[in-house]
Symmetry: C3
Subunit: 472 residues, 3 copies
Amino acid sequence: MSSKHTFLHPDRLFPVDTRTRSISRGLYERIKDAPILSPHGHTDPRWFADNEPFADPASLFVVPDHYIFRMLYSQGVALEELGIPRSNGGPVETDPRAIWRVFASHWHLFRGTPTRLWLDHAFSTLFDVNETLSTESADRIYDQIAERLALPAYRPRALFERFGIEVIATTESALDLLDSHRKIRESGWQGRVITTYRPDAVVDPEFEGFRDHLKQFGAVTGTDTGNWRGYLEAHRKRRAFFKTYGATATDHGHPTARTANLPAIEAEALYLRLSTEPACAEDAELFRAQMLTEMAKMSLEDGLVMQIHPGSSRNHNRLLFERFGRDKGADIPTRTDYVSALKPMLDLLGNEPNLTIILFTLDETSYARELAPLAGHYPCLRLGPAWWFHDSYEGMVRFREMTTETAGFYNTVGFNDDTRAFCSIPARHDVARRVDCAYLAHLVATHRLREDEADELAQLLAYGLAKSAYRL
Amino acid sequence: MSSKHTFLHPDRLFPVDTRTRSISRGLYERIKDAPILSPHGHTDPRWFADNEPFADPASLFVVPDHYIFRMLYSQGVALEELGIPRSNGGPVETDPRAIWRVFASHWHLFRGTPTRLWLDHAFSTLFDVNETLSTESADRIYDQIAERLALPAYRPRALFERFGIEVIATTESALDLLDSHRKIRESGWQGRVITTYRPDAVVDPEFEGFRDHLKQFGAVTGTDTGNWRGYLEAHRKRRAFFKTYGATATDHGHPTARTANLPAIEAEALYLRLSTEPACAEDAELFRAQMLTEMAKMSLEDGLVMQIHPGSSRNHNRLLFERFGRDKGADIPTRTDYVSALKPMLDLLGNEPNLTIILFTLDETSYARELAPLAGHYPCLRLGPAWWFHDSYEGMVRFREMTTETAGFYNTVGFNDDTRAFCSIPARHDVARRVDCAYLAHLVATHRLREDEADELAQLLAYGLAKSAYRL
Amino acid sequence: MSSKHTFLHPDRLFPVDTRTRSISRGLYERIKDAPILSPHGHTDPRWFADNEPFADPASLFVVPDHYIFRMLYSQGVALEELGIPRSNGGPVETDPRAIWRVFASHWHLFRGTPTRLWLDHAFSTLFDVNETLSTESADRIYDQIAERLALPAYRPRALFERFGIEVIATTESALDLLDSHRKIRESGWQGRVITTYRPDAVVDPEFEGFRDHLKQFGAVTGTDTGNWRGYLEAHRKRRAFFKTYGATATDHGHPTARTANLPAIEAEALYLRLSTEPACAEDAELFRAQMLTEMAKMSLEDGLVMQIHPGSSRNHNRLLFERFGRDKGADIPTRTDYVSALKPMLDLLGNEPNLTIILFTLDETSYARELAPLAGHYPCLRLGPAWWFHDSYEGMVRFREMTTETAGFYNTVGFNDDTRAFCSIPARHDVARRVDCAYLAHLVATHRLREDEADELAQLLAYGLAKSAYRL
């Protein structure tokens, strides 16, 4: 698709030397148009349910993208100037063109970052913008994008099809009624948009409103969440309900990877405390730990693949959190232990071949030291791809270099785009495919792998591994 | 040796660009046939004592190799299918051909791993197998290997000589009577097989049977191990005995690198507690810490080189450990601190130029941050090579890139194969030599080193540094 | 400058492949002669005040350089042989030629290290020494350097000008009277030598002589440092005084990055305890933590840029410290946390766009995980360059590869030479410029950056970013 866009070099991200570049090109040529599997992400299901046009370039590209506004903020741009809504409804910039101009005038900040690659790709391949964003070009590019957004071919479902998406998973809270998913299904549209069960709001005692959520959880499921059994039953029911909307996986965004396997009576007492009183830090951590094990037990029962995403210190910037709320680019990775943290759960379930637990990390030091050795041994474990800040050229290279020799390729699960930025999806998968082909080409060029094996692996990394690991 | 084997590319693992590849080739050509020094490993001395033929391809290549069965296990293959003996003697597969077929049908799992490189090398150079293992080729390759194993040229001593081994160290428990070593010596065979003093069983209070071991330790040495002085005396005697069988080194596999330097009266009291009662975790850790210092003191007396191998969480998989015992691929690396951990010992002995302590790690984050700065300063410290999960192309590259600039080459000790897999020894040393030549070639090609210096260093890394560091 | 020195390859440190090397060369050609900004370092201001000739090759190159004598010490050379003064004034080698010979005979130890690059550069470009140091060449090179040192062109001010230094910052204790800086100013010489406010001696309760320092601090500033208010006032006065000698920055060498924001009454009580009694470890750490926040508050008032250099375990070698004192190559990096450590300070001041805090690390694991995400979000934070043991080819490559994708280039601050070794300054900046050009060239060659953008960035990394970040 990109070859006709001269603004994007057809060999971008490939190794420089002629031989390895040529092998990379060959591998890539055969997988670049493979359907996109997006088994983990945060697109809004209402887009596909309602199929309304996107409003304007700023609200499509700038306002929802924390990669963009964190960088601008780091260089002194106020979030108000970018139209980020304030928690108290206070005034912020509302003119999309004004927001776009601020963004454009700071475009140089993204040199060397993945955001630059993603947006160049989206601008060029979707909107035929083949020049660099700048103060000078800002309005021209704005108009070009705005004009296209009004066309039927730029509505969400049309883009979904144009992107070659075979299946996309959204992520919904355990309390979500999945109305958009119902609406998609009832519309008769054939695009496969599935949900993912994300129970943090009813699993994390430190989540704002936790005890209210427990009550809603009871109401939504018709169970008595005033006791531990009823609470677990509510999860079972919700998981089954999410499965009816296509869910094949659950997702757990904990601060750490800690797991526990408490005697039932202790778990019950812990739940009673937490469901009736404000949580102390250790109780909260222990409950989250216990719930990872409970969720794993349910996954063994109902077949949902479990994803554990630990290690982010959320809302690190106190003032920003008070002013603008969650997810504003102020989540900072922390050191994460897996070896002792996962042991209680693995002691119970680690040898189950029918259970799949996908581990992610924001702490690259765990790749070679902990995650690859764990995934290269336990039948239930698989490694999720380079994630979040590491969803980038160098981040992906480090992932392969630090996991492959111990865990191999077959204990990994392909790529996740993990994005809220719909138009970046083809770009992100393209980057991952290019980096994987370059990595495989390097193995071939250093005679560690035959070319036919690399070909087979390129297919698996682009498509097959995600398909099987996520049971799609 | 490999040039006649077209299945193995003669330039494997060398850089891709013509200039650096050519320099690598030149360096390698001059050291590829250097004698093998294997100063740290786990081959079975009975092989050399008895010189019996190896039984069959499966028991030679599959059953003893935890790199292999951990990978197969991670993808759902039961260890019973691979003939791994159960602790209770329960039934497992006994037909070597059946085991081999399971292994062969999963060969693709090793793509991108060092196991693939090692076995391709052994198959090709030793058994003239020049095709890829697969379900289809499994029986043919099995027969080809089995046929050779029956020949005199494939007996352990013949292979030892064919491999060009100048000296190999095995590792024996402090309680071992070294009968195989005696038998080797008495046989008149000239192969230099030396032992290494590994006292974990009488140093680690959490080792199964520790207090019984202390009694045996007393019996074997004719000392009263009921008290601290006698216990230390027993070590001295055993170390001297091991030296008579060629030992030049000791080896210490502790969970952490912690050291201590307790007042004698406290050490004595600690020993009395541990030798008579079950150990609490802190006592056990403190005793191991104290014993590293005691062993270092004895090394200063008797000249044995000390090796510290910390940072493995042993037997992480509880069920597997209960079913199959130790060393089944379920040891997982953990974060390891050296700076504060080693300080008590270094405060006492760190400035002794006649003491050699070789540090290993499973935590690569310590290379540039802790180990290279420590070894680049303390006269007694040297860095062991990339170890275990990091004994691989990328692992070795990271080791050189993260240690050389601070510790130089001369504070490192060459390569250790550290293996139980006899036939992989030439392959492992070949990989290390290739990676080192590639690294040196890169320094030459970027004009950081002259080619004559690289030549000298290639010799040292392949042979000279191990010879001097291990006092061989 | 180097092109006429055939001993130094003009393409050193550039990538090997023709295309990337050629781009690197082009970028470098346009910035290699940019003026040197040295905003953080440890040259002695007396050199520039007195402008006396340097005494001899050994006292210029060997005796003050802990990179050199730590490596020699690690291989068994006594510091006495190198003329390192003993704390008790005991005898050490005093013949510079004898010291030089010991150094020369161990030159091979530096193969693969930055010291080798720096000294080859200084020998060749300053002294026309175009051969390798060795036992054989030692005297010849000694004489060649000694002869030049007697010439006017080799006096400190002449070298300063020859090096193209636009501004150099030295680092002085809060108690320093800045006499040398006054003398420089009064001399009428135009070289811009500025000071930096380094208050560790009056901020760290574990610094030898802390409570005496507090008294001197009061005397020097004419304030009553017997109470918390007076103590803070003394800092304000001294900072203002340092600004009159050009200071644009402060520097803080703490063991950790911990910060605190205590209620005033608690801070006051803590100060009273520490100023009158020996410190317990936790009080000392808490006070240092509080003082980072106090210094940041003052920086917001007076505009001094704040530099935090945490994570060194100082004087790790007890015996060496007792015998030779501080800064003898026995400072060892430790694991360093930033995310929770900086939070108290960032909660208070993190969103101030007029505050600049530059973070350094000796723990590379924090680059991608903590520092880049923090600097890519908080307006006050910037990343200092690869530091100390990481001020090297591979260290700088890792810095760029692990920070750029998340923090971009504009949240970094160019290069610091951080050196006591005056003649190494041009070499160190040259290495940094080459590595940056090589990195940028790689982005261009893989089509992640246009060449005109790389050109602009090369200028910024060599000059512009340091100029603006340090407010020079």
